[in-house]
Amino acid sequence: MDGEQAQRDDSDMAASSSAKHGADTARAGLYTAVLPLGLLIGLVYCWPAVAVGEVLRLSWPWIPAIDLHLQFRIDGLALLFGLIVSGAGVMVTLYSAGYMAGHPRTGRYFFFLHGFMLSMMGIVTADNLLLLFVFWEGTTVFSYLLIGFDNESSTARDNARQALLVTGAGGLALLIGILLLKTAGGSYTISQWMADDNGIRAHGLYPFILVMVLLGAFTKSAQFPFHFWLPNAMSAPTPISAFLHAATMVKAGIYLLMRFHPLLGGTTAWMCTLVIVGGITAVWSALQAFGPLDMKRVLAFTTTMALGMMTMFLGGRTAPVLTAAATFLLVHALYKAALFLAVGIIDHEAGTRRLDRLGGLGRAMPLTALAVAAAAFSMAGFPLFFGFIGKEIMYKAALAEDMFPLFATVAAVLANALMVAVAAVVLLKPFAGRRPAALPAVHDPPWTMWLGPVALGLPTIVFGIFPEWVSGQLIEQAVWAFHPAREEVVLKLWHGFNIPLLLSAVTLSLGAVIFGLRHPLGRLMTGIEARLPLSAGGTYDTGLQLFLKSAKATTNKLQNGSLHFYLTIVLLVLVAAVAWPWMQRGVLTIAWPDPADHFSALGVVVVIALGTAVVLVAKNRLMAIGGLGAVGAGVALVFLMFGAPDIALTQLLIETLTLIIVSLVLLRLPPLEAAKKRRTYRRVMDGALALGAGWVMTSLLLGVLQHPLDRSLTAFFAGQSYLAAHGRNIVNVILVDFRALDTFGEITVVVLAAWAGVSLIRKTKEPS
């Protein structure tokens, strides 16, 4: 399958080094189309019920404590989105099997693809906000992996990171919004939003909730000023671009706006923000589409434009306006996915997708040309194509906006006229005209690849001729799902002579003019973009650099490699954190023992203290080891005196072994006499800190001693030791029976420490 097309100007696909394996996994990938196909069939099965207004629900408890349940619902809106996601999923999977043939990492590719698709299905069917958020983050992660799929390209990695940071930050904002919503008395269950007006709009937290939710939606759907990541995300393989950035992922933000509409929508703040942001995004992106030569980038800008239009119409609150958003959603998904897939075909067959290197392909690849033609006419909004229906309802909606109808109408006409010109460029430039000599012989791709664009292009004509069917079966229920007023929703091919029709005519003629002026316009846009003092993408870059720089500076400051610094910080925190609460508790008293009763014990205490002093002042290794031995032996004696023969024995044995090992190592290390002395001021500081820490320990222990001891555990162990565990040595029974799991952990540590120690020794050369 045309693997010999080696020349690629930017490579979506790695060289066919392991072509055999790649072909095999690509065929396996073909079979994975069963997954989206199954979902599609399931949704179609649900369709008749949903079309008459039923809502299908599934629910299992997950973490009831935080009100998180595996709740799913399929209503009109979920059906519309679900059909787009699974339908595009089938096409993209089939298409990918051909497109990715010969690629060494197809297995990973299909895993990411389907992981993304399932997350997307989760978003649109989740009935629980937290669950929706989980899936929302799923799409963020999988889209990151897919955009950076060509992981050897640093551009792809940067772009993937950009998408991750922008949409990830938006996801966090959304989470904050969700939690605030709960605080404000809202419910996590989406189904309940429609039922009653729970007063969120009047709540004091409403502005914050709104800002957070809109941040989530705007970042995901690439709305101004977060629009810059989407064109960069085109470094993903082309079928992924078709799936993520035309049909599904960026629509998640739109879905969110629709879902939240009955809860948060309809206020002045909501309407103003959405109309203005959407309008700016639509026009600005449509203008930018004339700059680049890469067809995928061109399409990316038109996607942003489409998202802007949908956002703008979601700023309304009446049925026609919202219908425009829902209709255009379907219109756009169909033509844009077809166009992306077609660009992939061109890239795959001709080896380039640069507009200036393409031409005259129409005769060589007629099927592709036909599919693109259908999609482009729909995009331009010619009558008898679905895009015309979409445009008519858009103009009707723009005129009916509650906020800024004039702005909305002008923005819609302008953006649509620009779309007409872009559609003409996308259709005419590659397929019409003469073929450049440098272009190799091309032909239509295998069926798995042309099926997608053709199957997506066909409905643009069918729906364009029979809009009543679509509106009755799909759009109406989708709009009613987030528009409780349930006003009538009808799409018609012929509305009679009215203002929208006039605007359509204006759009087409204006589009023709713009098409004529496309070259100067493109140059103008490139110039303007270069001269803008402040661009969103540039701000992102600067911000990222600043962030990395400050992170590095902080790390260098805190992790400066100085043991003394680390210890000092830890100890200061210890002293401050423990000392302060203790000082509030009043005076600690020491009950002095009668020296006569505890004569031997006091003697041992003196031995330990002296041993400690010897270690402290030791001038050489031998003295220090001796001091340590005295302390260890003294501690063992304390254990022995106060009824702990087991640990006394262990302590003494440990002292012996420590002596052996310390001697073995110390003999090979430089003598203590050679060590540098601390300066006096540091000695004083360290001494003060050490005394402080020691005082903390003493006061802690004294504090403990002032409270009665809870002996219930000890009593249990003593009582059960023989009866239940058949042992007379209670300490040993605790170790090997009652608390055996602890002991098991401890011997694991011992073995691991020894293991690590041995591997350290083995690799060591003799010290010089």
Partner: protein
Amino acid sequence: MRSVILQTATRLMVGLIMIFAFYLLLRGHHEPGGGFAAALVAGTGFALFAIAEGPAKVRAAVRLRPTLIGMPGLAIAALSGMPAVLAGKPYLTGIWWRLGDAGGGALTIGTPLFFDIGVFLAVLGAILSIILGLEEH
């Protein structure tokens, strides 16, 4: 360090030390002792042996590599928790079997004994590997 007196004494001592370690291990459930103490005694014995005769002799006497003592020790300790699971009780619960007649002379054997043997081997393996490693280097 090669000393005839030390070597001769060590040969006598090491056997006794090992017997003592074994004794400590077995009596640990009823009297002071147990797996930890026994392993430390045995480890000290081997350390003495290594100082007197050199680590090669110790390796020859032990035959197994130290890691092959420590790891099975962990495994025995871990496995000693399984009978409880099979009996439907929480992991590492002590399970006891009575051997012999039901009279006063009956011997009870339980999983904690095997656990303690696991502790003994794990700690002994750890000590041996470090001491031999350091001695050889």
